[in-house]
Symmetry: C2
Subunit: 218 residues, 2 copies
């Protein structure tokens, strides 16, 4: 197999890192994959040989159109599966990530099509992330973090980054879910907590958690 599960993971991670960093540096990939930078070099060389990445030594990598296609397929699988687990199997939003991480690499097109159909061809996963279409189109996503707001701002939560189950449970407890309206009451300076009103209740959100919550300002 030319594209292994590991390589799919590399491409997926590079896609995500590319949102904020381009070209994507070896170190970022290593950190995101939880491996050593030296290990990354070999793999990105291989991926650039097979034309899924553009690789400029010492500079970083960029996905080629072919590489982006693979990445978006994996992301589509991941997000569809997350939603399916919630809707059809009763998972909660903090439980779906790890399961989807495994399933995303092995499901067939048929499986993908079936669950997409059963879910009514959804556009968002349980964390509010857009689901790429089958032909690789993905909606824009909000990039304004809750942590970047100021006192007085009103906004609607659009998406929550999903890798950390504990964090998600914490946010769920505060009712900070996609769709929720928040009003920023005050912000502690220099990366402290944020005080918000959600559902009429005042809550304090740690800065780290607020970094993973993205909003649309009103």
């Amino acid at each position: 197999m030319l594209i292994t599960q590991e390589r799919e993971d590399y491409l997926k991670i590079i896609y995500k890192l590319q949102q904020s960093e381009s070209p994507v540096r070896t170190n970022s990939i290593a950190r995101a994959m939880g491996i050593e930078p030296a290990s990354v070099t070999g793999v990105i060389k291989k991926l650039s040989e097979i034309k899924l990445l553009d690789y400029r030594p010492y500079k970083g990598v960029t996905l080629t159109p072919a590489g982006e296609k693979v990445a978006l397929e994996v992301i589509r699988h991941h997000r569809l599966i997350e939603l399916y687990l919630v809707e059809a199997l009763g998972y909660s939003w903090d439980e779906v990530h790890d399961e989807a991480e495994h399933l995303e690499h092995v499901v067939s097109d048929r499986f993908e099509d079936r669950i997409a159909e059963m879910l009514g061809h959804p556009e968002l996963d349980p964390h509010g992330e857009p689901i790429p279409t089958k032909d690789g189109v993905i909606a824009e996503t909000s990039t304004q973090a809750l942590s970047s707001l100021s006192a007085g701002d009103r906004a609607v939560i659009s998406r929550v980054e999903d890798e950390d189950g504990d964090l998600l449970r914490y946010l769920a407890q505060l009712n900070l879910r996609p769709g929720a309206s928040v009003e920023v009451l005050s912000v502690e300076p220099y990366g402290g907590s944020i005080h918000v009103r959600v559902d009429g209740k005042s809550e304090t959100v740690g800065q780290e958690a607020a970094d993973g919550v993205f909003v649309d300002l009103e």
Copy 2:
């Protein structure tokens, strides 16, 4: 990870081969895995090192209790998933095998529990094969092949081996499914076709197909 997906496949295949051959020979494993015997030797050595197999060089292997446990878990996953695909996602019985082959290695305990519950803790998969319980108990299975019957025999189909989609489509067309009653009308000598009555209709079954259909005599 000590137990890779490949190793799970080895154990699963050895479990199945053990039904008719014990100890299981290197060549049988190689044939079933579609690889060379030389490759098998190395892996079964490793599996015996980690106490999942008893290995007697030049003689063959036997599953240890620990190895059998792993094999039965994989088989449980496989069969539950096959049934789930049929019941919940509208797959037909000839489409489920390949999908299950991949999914069986990646689903979590939680996933297994959820689908088992949704399916009402079923005992048989779509091909009539028994589903091992969570603690590794598996029901006896019929070992009498349709191809071994004689004219005049009446029997009920209990299970159909499932690896080959074409074969399953062929059998489905003849209504040879688990639960169906068959009466043997005549048998061509020396491994020829078998003529049976199913659902009141006369059908001719090729010998190779009949080898994979197992029955309970009345």
